[in-house]
Amino acid sequence: MTGVIGFLPESVLAFAYLIAGILFIQGLRDMTHPRTAIRGNKISSLGMAVAVGVTMLWFEILSPLVLLAALVVGTGVGTWLAITVETTEMPQLVGLFNGFGGGASALVAGAELIDLFNQEGAGALGADLTAAAAVAGIIGAITFWGSLVAAGKLHGVVNDSAVRYTGEQVVKAIVLLTALAGSAFLVVQPDLFGAAPLAGWIPAYWFIVAAASVLGVLLVIPIGGADMPVVVALLNSYSGLAAATTGFVLNNTALIIAGTLVGASGLILTVIMCNSMNRSLTNVLFGGWGEEAESEEMEDIYEGQIMSTSPEEVEMLLDTAQRVVIVPGYGMAVAQAQHAVAELADLLDENDVDVEFGIHPVAGRMPGHMNVLLAEADVSYERMRELEEVNPTFSQTDVVIVTGANDVVNPKANTDDSSPIAGMPVLNVSDARTVIVNKRSLSPGFSGIPNPLFAEDNTNMLFGDAKDSMQELVNQYEENH
């Protein structure tokens, strides 16, 4: 049962997997700097190529055409999705890919069980194998369905509000217990339906997968759309840990190292996102907010306090400004306004205005979301300032243009201890002389709470779609300079 180079000593395979592991680590190390990151990504993919290539040469491939076809189809679809995706759709695409990885784990564990059962009978399904298969099946199915729902919410094809119902936690617990009971059966008696015609399909395993699939949907449905990046990062971490677990069973170094690295990465990103929102992971997963936008309160705050402005007026303000800070948010991503914003910044710069971007760590829907969008629009790296850097400079700033951002500039985080975003560090834009807030309406941002910034004396609202408004501003500015 050996492949082309399968006659070599076992240690050669282990060595190749070690090389792949080193390449993954080196790839991540290069990701610590924007200049080397692109090389790091290539090194990491080289590691994958080594691992997959050696595996194909090592093991006997009975049906090479099937394998080749699958690889070609997968590569084709993956490439097509990656090439055609809009930068604003990346969050959901990453979620979708993650789901596919989980789905593959669940399918392959099942196929392995079926294969062994049919070749060597139920006796071949030892407890360690079936236990590992159950873990792979549960985590894989949760990852697949959870990621699909998350991607759907991010893409707007699934209701993206937090769907809550009474007894929610109980329902989830029951489904989880069902999956675990199925796993116990699989481990104790893999040929549960030994005599039935479909015994060769290992029904106990698919029962587990079905239960876990339901669980995956149930877990993610109640979480609000804006928390999806946290969910995707966490599911990514799970799928890494599932790979590492499989590595334990197969004694496969590459799986252990790569899986653990992914597990660590997903977990760290999850924790970083939760921290920058000043929320606990439990709160994100089990107790989202978003349902309580009390409209009376909003009217109280906004009533008679809102001043709206026009692109012409903003242009005049910019005309006399020495220093301008642009604060982008989720709305810029939705409206795809990054190119217009970048053009505006360039124009200002040409006319000797000191212009910078103030980037909040959780602006948008993924960590670093704004950086990716602005980089796409050719904004130079040095012009993007992080929260700690830009906050002290607002008092020397003439005009702040907030475009499509809301929660990240909400002063309630500092002033109101009972608000759901209390304690989250925000950009203190109202320290500036004039604040222009560009959004389509007075509706709240992700957290669902009103924003007193809009009612402040030095704030002017520029209502409209971010892309249209920014483009209009660019046109006005160009006309007059």
């Binding site: 190390r29 993919s45 691992a51 490439t79 593959a104 060769g200 252990i256 597990g263 990103l269």
Partner: protein, 94 residues
């Protein structure tokens, strides 16, 4: 390799992962997410073996689907990550 041997690999990899990933700056977190996602497609190793050697039709079909999905994950993940990073490195160079 013994269980404790594998556990040792796991612990050391976790330390390596922690030390490296906490060093990655915020603005690279989205490409990192996509790149890590691609690495988690390492389960492709298992899929390849099953798809290529499946003895029953059912196992082969499942293996085929598994390879397709895992490959989409790997190829797509790396390409998306590359696409994002490419935009950064153009800025970095100038």
């Amino acid at each position: 390799m013994t269980f404790v041997g594998n556990l040792t690999l796991f612990v050391l990899s976790a330390f390596v992962g922690y030390e490296i990933i906490t060093k990655i700056p915020t603005n690279l977190h989205t490409p990192l997410m996509s790149g890590a996602n691609a690495i988690s497609g390492i389960t492709l190793l298992g899929s390849v073996v099953v798809a290529g050697s499946g003895s029953t039709t059912l196992a082969t079909v499942l293996g085929f689907l598994a390879v397709v999905m895992a490959t989409i994950n790997v190829v797509g993940g790396y390409l998306v990550s590359h696409k994002m990073l490419d935009q950064f490195s153009q800025r970095g160079g100038s």
